[in-house]
Each structure stands twice: as C-alpha cells, then as structure tokens.
C-alpha cells in the first residue's frame, strides 16, 4: 500500500500535478519517526530499523552505492554510520538513534537502487538494538517531519 502511494506521488510530482494543497509531494509514513537529517526509524520493541526517507532519496538522485557498517558496530544518535553515493556525490547517513548494529541490508550492495524505489520497505539500511529508548522522543513524528520538509524546500 505504501509502495503504491509512493508510486502515485512520484508520478504526480513528475507530471507536476499537486497531490495536496502543498507543493510538497514526497511520501511520509505515519507510523515512523524521523530525524532532521532525513532518516526514518521504525521501532519494534528494543529493535529499530532505519533508512532514508523518500524526500532524501528524491534529493539525492539515483543511488549507485551504499556503504554499510560492520555488524556489531555501535552507532550514536546524530553520528554518521555509512554513506550513499549518487550522481558522483557521496552523502553521509547519520544514525537517528544510538545502539548496536545487529543486521545490515546486504541486498543493497547488489541493488543500491532499492533505496530510491522503496525507501521505506526494501530499501531499509540497518537494524540496531537500541541502547537508549528515550532518544526516540527527540525525533519528529510524521506531521512535524512533513512540515520540516516543506520549510526546507521553500528555502530554495
């Protein structure tokens, strides 16, 4: 369902039809939390999955390479843990929460494009074991994140 929504809004923005009142046409899912460096987090007990948002992948362009961290490595909120390369630009990905890396999406090594086509589902990047559940409070919910993206886009 999310995939179809994503596809629809992508087509809409390509054809320049407004999806809603706002000019902002990327997808923001309601049950996720967001960091201001455009990563999303899905909390599942004390495990968290994250990746980059639709807004981020749209601004990056076609991803050709994803640098994944090693398993067992610890990450801290706001610190970089990997990178994506697109259009000759490597962009750091920052961790929205702190924890220990328990799983990485190896599929991205072969198909980095999944980050573009399915940023919230198949394009997930890593899963961590949370070290501090309280940190999630510092993240934005979907409404706040939509507003944040709107403000950023308006600056241009």
């Amino acid at each position: 369902m999310a995939a179809r929504l994503l596809w629809a809004s992508r087509v809409a923005s390509h054809l320049r039809i407004s999806v809603a009142q706002r000019g902002f046409a990327s997808v923001v899912l309601k049950d996720l939390k967001y960091a201001d460096s455009h990563e999303w987090v899905k909390i599942d007990g004390n495990k968290a999955t994250f990746g980059i948002t639709d807004h981020a992948q749209d601004h990056l362009g076609d991803v050709v390479y994803v640098e994944l961290p090693d398993l067992g490595r610890s990450v801290s909120q706001g610190e970089s843990f990997g990178a994506v390369e697109s259009v000759k630009a490597t962009s750091d990905i920052n961790s929205p929460v702190s924890g220990k890396v328990v799983e990485v999406n190896e599929v991205l090594t072969e198909s980095p494009g999944l980050v573009n086509t399915s940023p919230y589902e198949e394009g997930w990047i890593i899963k961590v074991e949370l070290s501090d559940a309280g940190e999630v409070e510092k993240l934005m919910d979907s409404d706040k994140y939509s507003k944040f993206c709107e403000e950023e886009d308006a600056k241009h």
Binding site: H59, V64, S86, V87, T90, K155, H156
Partner: protein, 378 residues
C-alpha cells in the same frame, strides 16, 4: 584624518515594463552581483581596460533593494565621475533594458543611507495599497543576511594538503564559524579514486606512477578515477547545502551549470551528462569532471575543468570509469585566444557564484598562510 576619499552614489534603476526583454526568461531580479557586473562591463566598454582597472579599486555595490529598485554604489572620489557616467550608459542588466538615474551623492555612507531611507519611505507611501505577495517575499529575502561567498585563491597545492584544508574548513563551516567558502586551485599531476575504490580503472601499476611524475590518492568523494594536473582549474566549494536549500542532485546539477556557463564564454556548447555520466561534455567528449562529498550537509571536493592539461596522463586510466568516451579540453574545443590562468580561474569562480546566486563574492587575503600552518598540525 581621512586619507582616502570615497563617494557614495544613490541610484534608482528604472526597469521599463513597456520595452521588450532582450532575451529569454523572466525579468531579472536586481542583485549586487548582476548590477556590479553590468556597471563593470559598461566601464570596460566606455573607458577601456585602463579605465576599468583604475575604478575597480574602490568600486563596490553596497546596497541593492530589488523592490524599490534603489542601489548605493561606492567609488573613489577621483573616479566617481567615470563610474557615474558609465552607470548612465548602462543599457541592460541581464535581459532587462534599464536606465540608471542618480538621486544623491555624498562622501559618507550615512548620508547616503538617510537619503535612501527617505526615498524608500516616499515610495511605500505612494504605492498606497501596499505590496503584493511577491514583493513582500522579496523584502523578507532582502532582510535576511546577504549570502557571501569567500574565495581562497591557492595556486598549486599538493593533494593531501588540500584534503587536510578541506577537512578543517568543513568542520569550521559546520560550526558556522566561516561563511560559504570556495577554494580555487590546481594540483600537481595526481590520480584520485572515489569511495568505491575503483582502482581497476588505473591502467598502469601503482609502482610506475612515480616515474611519470604522478601521485595516487584514495578519497571519500563520489565518482570514479580521475586525473588532476597543471592547467586544469579546480574548485572545491565548502557550502552548507541546508542554507542554500539544495539536495545532492540539485547541487551537482548546479556545478554542471557553472561549467556549462563558463564554457559558453568561449563559444563552446557544453552539456550536462546523461544518466550515470555526471559531468560536463562537449558532444561525446568529457571536458569537466565532478566528484563531491557531503557530510552533515556540508560539501567538499568539487569540480575540475580541463583548460589545457597534458592529455597523455589520461591515457593511463579509464577516466571516470567510462571506457568508450574521450576526454577533451578547452584548448582542443576552441580556437579562441585563451587569457591568463588567473583570469580563467576568476571567470570560473564568477560563473559558479552566479549560478548559486550569491549576493557578494569576497576574496580572502593571503590564504596560503593557512596552508603553511596545516603542515605543523600533523
């Protein structure tokens, strides 16, 4: 007490709505940069290079208000009549026919500012209904601090040193201790690889590099293998993408546009690359390369444009990993007389500043001093 005297001229710029635009696009919005370019061009045309050189020292567009169309221009007292007449002779700014009218002239900025304030208040009172949405947005944009680009002209710099300098500047920019900065330099013969470490695209063994006088470096930037060397100007913009409102893709596209704009100065029709072929091409030949790193929204590395590098060095690599396409240079693409390297670097910088809509470009005094301190930090 005051040894050096200036004159501040308050000018009103009339944009004639009846007249047709001279070119494509919407009417130009007045900025310090496009006004100063138009005035400098007029001085050059009417007073020659000598006239321009003598005016440039103190010439500065101090204030521009695109809504009321007022601007304050500073000039030295000795040259102000020249600048004034050149301004009167300006026919267009960008694609818009304009006429300049002098409203006030004074020896200090304060008096000029007071006159400007008075004039603008009159205009707002006259306009009655108040400002349109568009104009209010413009005013708010003016109220914000003007965007300045600080340019460091560094000459030829060893690659590792430039990496260290960039690291330092990126953290300074992140902490907001410096404005958007642009490094303008060249490297001694150097091959560099990107994050993907595609060293299979280096066609000679690493051991042989020394014999051809080149170094090899692995970097964190995007992109494949490339060569840097003399007669290839390089620009490393250290910018905060968030304050410009760009993402990675739009940033890289703007870098491409800067190089395309620069090529057009010499009549060379360059174009942006197709998908997966980022860079600037003339036909099927690559003339400009891009490789960028973005961390926490601050950019480093940047672009390289071939003016007249030793093309033999490119034979030892598969440039940018694209096997069946040639590499070319400005020298090869045009018969035009090329000016000195310093002028070329300046033109490239100006094109970038224009594409990124900077209000002001400031050249840093003696940047090489910083380079020397980097050695000690090791």
């Amino acid at each position: 007490m005051v040894g050096f005297k200036n004159r501040f001229m308050l000018m009103e710029v009339y944009l004639d709505p009846e007249k047709d635009l001279l070119g494509e696009g919407t009417p130009v919005i007045l900025t310090k940069l496009n006004l100063s370019e138009a005035i400098k061009d007029s001085i050059l045309v009417n007073f020659g290079e000598c006239g321009l050189a003598s005016c440039l020292g103190s010439f500065h567009v101090a204030y521009v208000n695109p809504v009321t169309k007022l601007c304050i221009v500073r000039s030295s007292r000795d040259e102000h009549r020249r600048v004034w007449s050149a301004m009167t002779l300006v026919r267009s700014v960008g694609n818009c026919p304009v006429v300049f009218n002098l409203l006030d002239i004074s020896g200090c900025i304060r008096a000029c500012r007071d006159a400007a304030l008075k004039c603008e208040t009159e205009k707002f009172n006259q306009s009655g209904k108040g400002l349109s949405e568009e104009e209010i947005r413009e005013m708010n944009r003016k109220m914000r601090t003007p965007r300045t680009l600080e340019v460091w002209k560094l000459g030829t710099v060893n690659y590792l040193k430039s990496l260290k300098l960039q690291d330092k500047l990126v953290s300074e920019r992140k902490a907001n201790r410096i404005p958007d900065t642009l490094l303008s330099l060249q490297h001694p013969p150097t091959y560099t690889l990107g994050k993907r470490r595609t060293d299979h695209n280096l066609l000679i063994p690493e051991a042989e590099l020394k014999s051809i006088g080149a170094e090899l470096h692995y970097t964190q930037r995007g992109g494949d293998i490339t060569f840097h060397g003399p007669h290839q100007p390089i620009l490393y913009p250290i910018l905060s993408l968030r304050s410009i409102g760009f993402g990675a893709r739009s940033y890289v596209e703007a870098l491409e546009r800067s190089m395309i704009e620069f090529s057009s100065l010499y009549g060379v029709k360059a174009r942006a690359g197709n998908k997966c072929e980022t860079g600037v091409w003339v036909g099927d030949r690559k003339i400009g390369a891009i490789g960028v790193r973005i961390s926490s929204g601050i950019t480093c590395h940047g672009l390289a444009f071939n003016i007249d590098p030793d093309m033999k060095y490119f034979e030892h690599i598969v440039p940018c990993g694209i096997a069946d396409k040639e590499v070319t240079s400005l020298r090869r693409e045009t018969d035009a007389q090329l000016p000195s390297e310093e002028v070329i670097h300046e033109q490239l910088v100006t094109c970038l500043a224009k594409v990124f809509s900077y209000d002001d470009v400031v050249v840093k005094e003696d940047p090489s001093a910083i380079l020397n301190t980097l050695e000690d930090d090791d």
